[in-house]
């Protein structure tokens, strides 16, 4: 698109120069022509038509029409080109002509956005995957990051919760850092946007996704920049890959297009956890006491759940269904309206959207209202200005759907024993097992977050010379994030007399950017030079108030509280960058690119602020060689290789390198000071070098195309909060102390299986493998509940470090473990723990099929992951063997426990927690998290054009889409992707988190 604009601009500038010189042209001939698509015979607007041997060039209008008034005499030759079509030369002999263009091999001419520019796919040197909006539009999810699952080889997207708008784990080609960020850089319309959650209230370890502030309906395309050649120009954050989002714009010289979309749907829970009934629970508890030689509590003939003994026999126990109360059928609705238009000088896109998504877990919901305005205007043939603007308000009704206990919805709903009634003897609703009472919790939940976010930029393009373009732009990402909580005094978090909080966070970043592009074609030599600089700054501020001690629950604002405390935070970082890039293309056959970027960051030590990030890449379009030109079966073949270095500084403290004392160490109401952080003057950029080799090949006129990449990434100077011996008085300090490697293979296959007028069927498939390894780490680090996760040298990041249970002794019912010395036995020591797998899949990807038959379109898309492990922490708690009695639910799976000699099972004898059979960090609860998910299936119907035109519209499409309708997995929990904590070092631990819902939505698109 931009290429086209550029060409148009060039043309205009040439024309204006001609006019400026006031040369009256001599007219020797006129020509009226029309450009059509060969297959459909529909007009092709926007085709470039140039008279060969001159600079005279025009653009076809909406109806594909163009005309020339020229000094040339017939016959002359026209060069007709259009994005996505083969360029044709036509000899003109008379003053009317109809030109039919043939579509090129699929995708080769596709324009792909890369760092600070665009490229045609055929000339790409780097590994870039483009995802078009149409592939994402029907997938119901809070943000487009969640929609990307399975869409790009090497991009692993894990939706760790069923709460819409909550954070999604996005990893491109593995993870490179322990304590700096592993999330790709998101660039939206040229603005480096903040992807770190501003959430400060606790939702049990979870956090919001700031990417959900972007309305997917406004997105034109998403480009995933994977290798160093593609991302090095974004040096400062390229190490985790770059995701470039281009939003929709109008077209110059185009009519007004109005699009309206509305959809409504329902989401419901997949099969949930299977729990014991009251009688089963009681039986297990009695059995536990029998096994340890204690007094059995479930005895007597009177039902009395609160008594510590003689509560009535197991048969007398009742069963209370709390899950049914917590989960409901949720409503999903989405409305979008957009207007796009353009004349010769100005084009714009105006979009408004509203989304409302309820979580299947009450009372959580997410809604988003967005306003989008993009405009471009040509002031003259030389100068074009424009602006992109996104204004979003999101509102979240939040709930703690992660770890507990206070306020934890699934702690109250799932982890509370089923036999315990919700009320006490007096009929008063009470919390059980240290958790909140579910009914009270759902009734009084009052946690709200409102984000008001503006992302925008203004730019000016100046065509200094026909080959030289200057661009300057200013971008802003401003997020005002307000949170409020009121915890009713009847809830744990609000007892004894209510607790209200209010937090206002403010994150403002701006980026200023200048680029100068020179592009020249000399015969077969085509080269470009780009130089530029950027300045960026990010400022974070937060004001927080907490009020406790309310007169009663009618007062919920802090002004009514008797004890009020507050905090204020401020932090800032800046980044200055200079970059340059040279690309050279010989005859569309040999392409070589090289770039260098220098970044200075305020975060690093005084002499270490600057990092230098070079890259080089080359591509050989083998198909252009003589020996392949006649091989018809191969329509394209390109080999690519690249190497480069990218950096990472995100996620570390803004003042990470400085030695600091805090003023917050007060005692007895008076200020105190204390050491806070050790200085590290040598703190510097984390650097990732990446080698990529790839091949793009397509057959049968592009009907079948393959893209393959192999990469090897090595991260050195890894940013780490390096543990220091406690004797120093500090636990860690920021240091460049880790080295991590990622290597892998990616394969993408696109195939047009059947293509005729009434029926098309295409298939896309991608699969990727990534092998992650910590190459250097002085001492192991442990993360997560019960230190389940280990990071140690020589192993993949996020390995599960557990006691490996081998079997349950059929004679004694005791769990037998693998010991470090190779023996087997009971009561393992800490040193007997071993790595039993990691969260990394052996491979993952997606498989999609698109079919159209007549006016129907059908799409079915699967995503899959194989070989990753998930720790079923819910089940760990749920298989307490009866020992936790009134403190914890018992899962139905615990009924398989060993009971008598000869029993063959892997659930040991019920004889207590924290002892041999029920160890913390037991390996029994680590499960295979592989899955195949029916991510999306959509059936659409577009009304016939003739009918639509008759009623004055452009198109009408009705569709029904189902999401996540089935899941194939061995995992025993509801969702193998679930994870309780958004912390990047604690993935794969499933606790207290709702699964991704199943949903069906009905929608309509109307174009005017």
């Amino acid at each position: 698109m931009k290429k086209y604009v550029l060409t148009g601009l060039l043309l205009l500038s040439v024309l204006s120069l001609i006019f400026a010189q006031k040369i009256e042209p001599l007219i020797n001939s006129t020509l009226n022509g029309r450009v059509l698509d060969r297959k459909s015979n529909l007009p092709l607007s926007g085709a470039d038509i140039q008279i060969k041997g001159t600079t005279h060039e025009v653009v076809a209008d909406n109806e594909g029409r163009f005309n020339f008034r020229t000094g040339q005499k017939f016959p002359y030759i026209l060069i007709v080109s259009h994005v996505g079509y083969e360029t044709q030369e036509v000899t003109v002999t008379s003053n009317t002509i109809e030109i039919q263009l043939k579509e090129t091999s699929k995708g080769l001419e596709e324009v792909v956005v890369v760092g600070y520019g665009t490229s045609k796919r055929k000339n790409l040197v780097g590994a870039v995957t483009k995802v078009n909006a149409s592939e994402l539009r029907d997938i119901p999810a809070g943000g487009f990051d969640a929609q990307l699952q399975g869409k790009a080889a090497g991009l692993q997207t894990t939706t760790t919760t069923g709460v819409p708008g909550e954070s999604v784990t996005v990893r491109l080609r593995g993870a490179t850092s322990i304590n700096a960020d592993n999330t790709p850089l998101y660039v939206i319309d040229g603005v480096f946007v903040n992807s770190t959650s501003l959430q400060t209230v606790s939702t049990g370890g979870k956090s919001t996704s700031p990417i959900a502030d972007i309305n997917p309906a406004d997105i034109e395309s998403v480009e995933v920049l994977k290798d160093a050649e593609a991302s090095a120009l974004y040096g400062s954050r390229g190490a985790n890959g770059v995701i470039i989002v281009t939003t929709k714009r109008g077209n110059f010289s185009d009519g007004t297009r109005i699009n309206a979309q509305a959809s409504h749907g329902y989401a419901w829970a997949p099969p949930l956890w299977k729990l014991t009934t009251g009688p089963e629970h009681a039986t297990l508890v009695n059995e536990y006491y029998a096994n340890i030689g204690g007094k059995q509590p479930f005895t007597g003939d009177v039902w009395n759940p609160a008594a510590s003994s003689a509560r009535g026999t197991p048969e007398l126990q009742k069963t209370y269904d709390r899950l049914g109360e917590a989960f409901h059928t949720a409503n999903l609705s989405s409305y979008n309206l957009s207007v796009a238009s353009g004349n010769k000088a100005t084009r714009f896109y105006l979009g408004a959207g509203y989304d409302n998504q309820e979580s299947i877990l009450r009372p959580i919901s997410f809604d988003r209202a967005t306003f989008k305005f993009n405009i471009d205007h040509k002031i003259s043939s030389i100068v074009q200005i424009g602006s992109s603007n996104t204004l979003t308000r999101t509102h979240r009704n939040q709930g703690r759907a992660g770890d507990g206990p206070a306020g934890g919805i699934l702690q109250a709903a799932l982890h509370t024993p089923t036999y315990l009634p919700p009320t006490n003897d007096q009929g008063v609703l009470v919390g059980r097992a240290g958790f909140d009472n579910l009914t009270l919790l759902l009734q009084y939940y009052d946690v709200n977050a409102v984000s008001l976010r503006y992302i925008g930029n203004v730019y000016a393009d100046v065509q200094i010379l026909p080959d030289l373009k200057f661009r300057t732009s200013w971008g802003v990402d401003y997020d005002n994030y307000k949170e409020s909580e009121y915890w009713n005094s009847m809830l744990i978090a609000g007892s004894p007399s209510g607790d209200a909080t209010s937090s206002i966070s403010d994150n403002a970043s701006w980026v200023n950017e200048q680029t100068l592009t020179y592009r020249k074609k000399l015969g077969k030599h085509n080269f470009g030079i780009l130089v530029g600089n950027t300045l960026q700054s990010n400022t974070y501020e937060r004001t927080f108030l907490d009020g406790k001690g309310f007169a009663n629950n009618s007062f919920t604002k802090i002004s009514s509280a008797s004890v009020i405390t507050g905090t204020q935070n401020w932090s800032q970082n800046t980044l200055a960058s200079f970059f340059g890039k040279v690309d050279y293309n010989f005859n569309d056959k040999y392409i070589i690119n090289a770039s260098l970027r220098a970044d200075g960051s305020s975060k690093f030590g005084p002499e270490r602020k600057w990092g230098y990030f070079p890259s080089v890449g080359a591509a050989w379009r083998v198909k252009q060689e003589k020996f392949l030109q006649d091989v018809d079966v191969i329509s394209d073949l390109k080999l690519r290789a690249s190497y480069g270095i990218t950096g990472n500084q995100n996620g570390i403290g803004d003042f990470a390198s400085q030695g600091l004392w805090t003023g917050g160490s007060s005692y007895k109401d008076t200020a105190g000071i204390a050491p806070q952080q050790l200085a590290n003057d040598n703190l510097q950029w984390e650097k990732t070098s990446q080698f990529n080799i790839g091949a793009d090949v397509s057959f049968f006129n592009g009907r079948l195309s393959l893209e393959a990449n192999y990469y090897y990434k090595y991260t050195s100077n890894g940013l780490l909060q390096l543990p220091r011996p406690a004797t120093t008085g500090f636990s860690t300090y920021w240091s460049n102390a880790a080295e991590i490697s990622n290597k892998g293979f990616e394969l993408t296959i696109n195939s047009v299986n059947i293509q005729n007028k009434n029926f098309t069927w295409s298939t896309n498939f991608n699969v990727a493998q990534n092998i992650n390894k910590i190459e250097k780490l002085a001492s192991p680090l442990q993360y997560g509940s019960r230190n389940l996760i280990l990071l140690q040298q020589g192993s993949p990041m996020y390995s599960f470090y557990l006691y490996k249970q081998l079997y349950v002794d059929p004679q004694t019912g005791n769990a037998i473990y693998q010991k470090a010395d190779g023996t087997q036995g009971m009561n393992p020591k800490t040193s007997d723990k071993q790595i039993m797998g990691s969260v990394w899949p052996k491979f993952f990807g997606g498989l999609g099929n698109d079919l159209t038959f007549g006016n129907f379109d059908f799409n079915i898309f699967f995503s899959f992951q194989y070989g990753n492990k998930t720790y079923n922490h819910n089940r760990f708690f749920g298989e307490g063997g009866g020992a936790r009695d009134a403190a914890r639910v018992i899962f139905a799976s615990d009924l398989a426990r060993w009971q008598k000699p000869g029993d063959i099972t892997d659930v040991p004898k019920a004889d207590g927690v924290n002892v041999n059979n029920y160890l913390d960090a037991g390996g029994r609860w680590l499960e295979d998290g592989s899955f195949v998910r029916l991510r999306n299936v959509t059936l659409g119907y577009s009304f016939p054009k003739t009918f639509v035109k008759k009623i004055g519209l452009r198109n009408i499409r009705l569709y029904v889409t189902g999401s996540n309708l089935f899941l194939i997995t061995k995992y025993s929990g509801p969702d193998p992707e679930s994870s309780a904590n958004s912390n990047q070092n604690q993935p794969g631990i499933d606790l207290g988190t709702p699964p991704q819902p199943r949903s069906v939505q009905f929608g309509i698109n109307v174009g005017i």
Binding site: N424, P496, T662, S831
Partner: protein, 450 residues
Amino acid sequence: MKFSNYILAAAFSVSLSSCEKFLDVQPKESVSDEQTIFDVTSATEAVRGIYNAFASGSYYGTTFQSIGYLSGDNIQWTGSQSQVQEFINHNVRADNPTISSAWGQIYVAINRANNVIEKVPALQDPHVSEDNKNQLLGEAYFLRALAYFDLVRTWGGVPLILKPTKTAADNSGIARSTKQETYAQVLNDLNKAEALLPVATNRYRATVKTVWALKARYYLYQGDWANAESYATKVISDVTNYQLKSPYSSFFANGARGTVESVFEIYYNGTTETNGHGGQWLPQTLGGTRQWAPNDAFVALVNTTAIGGNRSVLVAKDNQNRWYGTLYGSTTSSGSYVIRIAELFLIRAEARAQQNVLTGSNGALFDLNAVRARAGLDASTATKQSDVLLAIENERRVEFAFEPHRWFDLVRTNRAAAVLGVTDTTKFVLPLPNQQILLDPALKQNPGYN
């Protein structure tokens, strides 16, 4: 074209020249460690910073205290994490997070004290008097003594860190001193503090009387009965300032703080300085989670009138008929008791009993009965020396039920095997945190924990 080039050149040069300044961003919530203790105000604030470290949840705020009582025989654990159960089972693993956070926080406190001890003598502030300097230094020495005392009684000999950490390389790779050397360091610091601190009464900060009280406990642990008795007497005899407050509940119930009972307690205002300890003890209706609770044996004991007396207020029932502990009555503002006058009475009682002075106003029973009388109990019927010592041991169990004494008492009197059934003497000290052993090769693990 010239114009455009000019813009370009200007844009580049402006950004270049202002770059270094642009990249220099200083924090506003913290200050550089090059400007810390430089005058009397900052020195005083740095001393408060040491107390703040003691007040932390990892030290006297919850964690360290819990080691002392969970390892005894009064508490049960209702939660799910083994890190607490391990103390109750006397099978603490080296990767237990409780020991790791306590160990770390005590050394944080020591580093803060070391900063004051190094920098205050060098202060050139004309506004600071020698007395003022001496007091600040004395407090730092006292607090460092208490920190090493807590370390040595929990883990045995530890690395002695006596200089502040200024760079990441400082104060690591230092091997453990012996138990004797560590105790010697404690005494050394206490002697310095005693010489520097004023004779005053302050229940929240150290004075010379606080030093005497800790010295009494120090000598008790050393079996230096004469010194233990004499230092306890120095405090007990200050009857205007220190008394057994009656009834028992009056030193902690209804938000009481800083009463005459208290020799040294950590202060929490409940808002900016909070003690989360109560959250572990209190039931949900009072804002807590009741993760740990008095066990059946202790509930029975304290509710036996002839044993618990009016100390039965230490336990109460929640709305679901479960017992909970009441010593920390608030989830935010309860004080944390370090040394109470009752302890000095019982120290002196034990020291006198060990010296076999059992009766009379200089006898062990006099002090024991003073504590019993305050609890509303009759005088002890013990007569033999061994019975008196046992009576003192049992009295301490109930008197300090939820304070960090029981475990240390049973270990120092070599009674852990008889009372708790801990026959493996390697369990008398806890393991060093596993992570620390891995981080610092100079550290050697205690026997039995490898």
